[in-house]
Symmetry: C2
Subunit: 369 residues, 2 copies
Amino acid sequence: MSARPYCVFSAEGSAPRVGARSGDGVLDLAEALGDPVFAAPTLNPFMAQGPAAWREVRAAVAGLSGPVVPLAEVRLHRPFEVADFVDYYSSLEHATNCGRILRPGSAPLSANWREIPVGYHGRSGTVLASGTPIVRPSGVRAGEPCPTFGPSVKLDVEVEVGFVVGVPSTLGRPVPIGDFAAYVFGAVILLDWSARDIQSFEQQPLGPNLGKSFATTIGPWVVPLAALDGALVEPPRADPPPLPHLRPTGPSGYDIRLQFAVNGRVISRPRFASMYWTPAQQFAHLTSNGASLRTGDLLGSGTVSSFDPGAQGCLLELTADGREPLRLADGTQLGYLADGDRVTVSASAPGADGPIDFGVAEATVLPAL
Amino acid sequence: MSARPYCVFSAEGSAPRVGARSGDGVLDLAEALGDPVFAAPTLNPFMAQGPAAWREVRAAVAGLSGPVVPLAEVRLHRPFEVADFVDYYSSLEHATNCGRILRPGSAPLSANWREIPVGYHGRSGTVLASGTPIVRPSGVRAGEPCPTFGPSVKLDVEVEVGFVVGVPSTLGRPVPIGDFAAYVFGAVILLDWSARDIQSFEQQPLGPNLGKSFATTIGPWVVPLAALDGALVEPPRADPPPLPHLRPTGPSGYDIRLQFAVNGRVISRPRFASMYWTPAQQFAHLTSNGASLRTGDLLGSGTVSSFDPGAQGCLLELTADGREPLRLADGTQLGYLADGDRVTVSASAPGADGPIDFGVAEATVLPAL
């Protein structure tokens, strides 16, 4: 079966349509399979078809060798339209690090953290294609004698993995955790841009809003969920054990390895296998109150971080809120993001036929208006 | 000019399409005006056309008297598709009441409250048509010796007004507060269902999620923003004065009067004119970080409450978190919502040709599954 990720691409003069990765090229699925669902400008119609169709197409794609358009000749678009976007906070190490850095002297984890996957709804309308520049946001920050409005001076990015829903569910009917693979289509790299100064001023009591809502980047390649079966691992031991509706029916962590670079220099290698709450648990939590799912619902994992040096997924942690800039090999220092900085994140996971390549999600920071 | 609210309706055997209120009936706009934009099953295509088209249609509708379908013969649908939903917390009295009830002994308002309109993103996919039943949500609540999962025992509803965006904006470009009426199409009644026990357990540090995400109800009638010009009022005096980008260019409050009833008994009469942060300020805040707008973006005002007895917009406030149930005229008591309770909210505002009727948003609570 193919582990080839899907994308939405356009070649010169042609409309965006669905493709599959094939070496250094893109397989044109509308042409190769003769199915109009792949002539759509997003993966949404295909994602809505459900697991039987997903399986059939994966099997068909595995046997195809052409027609392939070289990657150098295509433009890659945002691969799906986002319905609702829920972003979690599911790394124990990230949550602990943030608590220690931002609230020294008090308990780093909130009382609910080990009981439920804590998360919030983000802005779907600003989930962007990889490559879309990030304009430095302005906002209200704490100040003396009073708060001021101006460009963020603590622009950060969180390295995450996103899981996208294909099959809708029924309002009022929670979806059991064991049905994760019957609803979720695949996984992408996700960059959660975060203006820490705006966020910390606004966050009480209703959570992040403008500190995050200006941009989220997703990678151009969607890895089919079933292709990641070979990457399934047991997550870290849960203490206390999860409540029954959040108890996985098998291994539910994924051994996805990420690489986080700024201006071409790798600054960390976060490991998704360390996540305390897994995508299946986040999924079950989301519908446990009867909330319904739509095609295109996106679940962000939250920053992927470990306590190991060099395995933390955001600059808040890597630089202690900017107080301890990273010293890079060429002698330069990196604190929070500067105008012109280019962030690139890549990922891979073990697959049945060798490593699965998630490709690269990237964006460059532009100055505030 | 017509102050007639718009709806999406269907008569027996016909597909949903756009109508305008006409007494006790609905004017079929696709038929009356011969414009296919009104044959759509949502207001979104018309909303996207912008203020010149909105003005032209209002003028045309004012002179029409038929064809009218009696309200008794139509079904009213959710009038628009929601893109992103941001819910605010903009009543000083509501925020103060909540702080006093839930955090006695500490400052009721967070330090940011008078500086920015505090808000969070809600779930767009569960914004429902009036009349859709509300299944009591289950979730994780605090408990001894440990938290448990089960049906909410503190089901509440917040009475709000929603403002819906028609015209999209450009990513990275804040929209000035003075452009509010060039982007915002109209206003609806909004019911923000809230499971207080689920919400209070989950809310730290990322805000409300499952305590709210199961349902939001909007009224069937969208009042054109321009029809509300006669209801514009000065909001309460701001202290401190708003930062420049949040400073209104004229009166920006609205004299909308709401009526909140449970099982047919009016329990409060919230007044929208008392809101500290106005829709124009919420709108300017939303894009101040460069976040873009889409057609269908919905801004909820937050609970409309005053300190006056009987002018509070949710049961948390009206019953002191359920500890002091309301005694109704017939001797029954009302704490949080019970299964079978029917909530109805109506609203009106002064208009050029008499009161503007927002109609009724309503829903009945069904038992947990």
